[in-house]
């Protein structure tokens, strides 16, 4: 192993977690340069360092070097070992920020993943608990990761948090199943959860009513449950939010989520979440935009076989381009997009040849 010149080099702070995950899965060393080098507050942020620590604790033999200014990181991945870990999430980023990337690694580990995350459980830009449970885990199930769960032990709304969730992934598989999804699945029901911590339960019901009002015209079954948290387990701050999931018979699901902040009206939040769900459904074929990275990465590390996934024209956005470029840099795999021509939609079939990744961590053990 030559020490220099053998890195895959990235630049900038975007896709930070994804790049580290791809490196871990591929076993290739990466170097990320110019992390916020032009900003007043350069270098890694607290939550990114915390994520690196988490990565270190679920792998064995990883080496992380951070430059003095924090603007360059060199990461040499070890093998994924998993195990029982407790992670305290720093302020500013909720547990979802840390749980989400773990889903990419957990099925390919040596031991089962059982991680307790402490901190905030909601924020307006990261994955919420229900979004992971009902939005991302169904995607994993489609790829053969059947036994995974996220238990909410305590909820903790921002800013003070005080929540606790337990991520358990019991299925250890050699590689994800090859995906063939050429249709747009039909939605059979809409489910949802409206939760609150340390505020009046009436907020929860007001959100439900507002969301139902919007979703009534869709014509399918709408079932939103109330989840009111009181006392010790409801964290340190008052807060409330709603997650809506459109479920299909085939097992795919689309979701939207929304949390309430100071000065927000519950009706507005419920309505907004409902409209976001409609918009997301209109923009998705088999997976929503926020599930797409997980699905594509699973396809890339699949068997040496062609996987196919239907995506819409709207899903080809900056995020996807960035994702595909990063995948190519690390794995050398390109995605082939073929327009769907047998119906009058603008959809594409994303065709990916798996790299024939096998769960080496498991085999060696």
């Amino acid at each position: 192993m030559s020490s220099r010149g053998s890195y895959v080099v990235f630049s900038g702070s975007q896709n930070f977690r994804l790049r580290l995950i791809l490196a871990t899965l591929s076993g290739k060393a990466i170097k990320i340069e110019k992390i916020r080098s032009n900003e007043l507050n350069p270098g890694l942020k607290d939550h990114e360092v915390s994520f690196l620590r988490l990565l270190e604790s679920v792998t064995n033999g990883s080496a992380i070097e951070i430059s003095y200014t924090g603007t360059t990181v060199i990461y040499r991945p070890g093998i994924i070992v998993g195990g029982s870990v407790t992670h305290n999430c720093p302020k500013g980023k909720p547990v979802g920020y840390f749980v989400e990337p773990m889903l990419y690694l957990a099925p390919f580990s040596k031991k089962k993943f059982s991680i307790i995350f402490r901190g905030c459980t909601a924020s307006s830009e990261d994955a919420g608990i229900e979004a992971i449970k009902w939005g991302l885990m169904p995607v994993m199930e489609k790829f053969g990761v059947r036994e995974c769960a996220l238990h909410t032990l305590k909820r903790g709304s921002p800013p003070l948090g005080g929540g606790e969730v337990h991520l358990i992934v019991d299925s250890l598989i050699a590689q994800p199943l090859t995906m063939h999804e050429l249709d747009r699945p039909t939605i059979s029901s809409i489910r949802g959860v409206s939760y609150s911590t340390r505020v009046s339960p009436s907020m929860v019901n007001r959100m439900i009513d507002a969301a139902k009002k919007v979703l009534k015209k869709v014509g399918c079954e709408v079932n939103i449950s109330a989840d009111v948290w009181r006392g010790e387990n409801s964290g340190k701050s008052p807060g409330w939010g709603i997650t809506l999931v459109a479920e299909t018979k085939k097992g795919w699901s689309f979701f939207s989520e929304q949390i309430g902040g100071a000065g927000d009206v519950p009706e507005d939040i419920g309505t907004l979440a409902a409209y976001h769900l409609l918009e997301e459904v209109s923009k998705s074929a088999a997976v929503g935009r926020n599930q797409l990275p997980l699905a594509l990465v699973y396809m890339v590390i699949g068997k040496e076989d062609i996987g196919r996934l239907r995506i819409t024209r709207e899903q080809i956005d900056e995020r996807l381009v960035g994702l595909l470029r990063d995948i190519k840099l690390v794995f050398g795999t390109e995605v082939f997009l073929r327009p769907v021509d047998h119906d009058n939609t603008d959809d594409f079939i994303a065709t990916i040849k798996g790299i024939g990744f096998t769960n080496t961590s498991k085999k060696i053990a």
């Binding site: 939605i187 459904v281 960035g322």
Partner: protein, 105 residues
């Protein structure tokens, strides 16, 4: 004008995605056929000299922070006003849902 249209149609998204010299937002613009160099710039021409660079910078950083970064989990949505207007009628996605038949309510 014809020439322009032809030139635009030529872009194949599968290739554009992997052209590393083009930023993600630019390659999408080319693919969708909405390149920067048309009308909007013409109007701006007068005030361009002083403000152009500033504006462009702002636009670039904003879109990079928001659109292209997977660090942000929640995707981009239009404002609520636009969404309400768009979905006042859900015929466009009606066929995606299985539900009870509409009894003319």
């Amino acid at each position: 004008l014809n020439g322009q249209i032809n030139r635009r149609r030529k872009w194949d998204i599968g290739k554009l995605i992997y052209m590393d010299n083009i930023s993600p937002s630019d390659c999408l613009k080319r693919w969708r056929g909405e390149e920067d160099d048309d009308e909007s710039d013409m109007e701006l021409e007068q005030e361009e000299d002083e403000q152009f660079f500033q504006k462009k910078d702002e636009k670039n950083t904003a879109s990079q922070d928001y659109e292209g970064d997977l660090e942000k989990f929640v995707p981009y949505f239009d404002t609520i006003e636009k969404l309400v207007q768009k979905w006042s009628n859900i015929d466009a996605i009606k066929d995606r849902f299985i539900g009870a038949p509409d009894f003319g309510a």
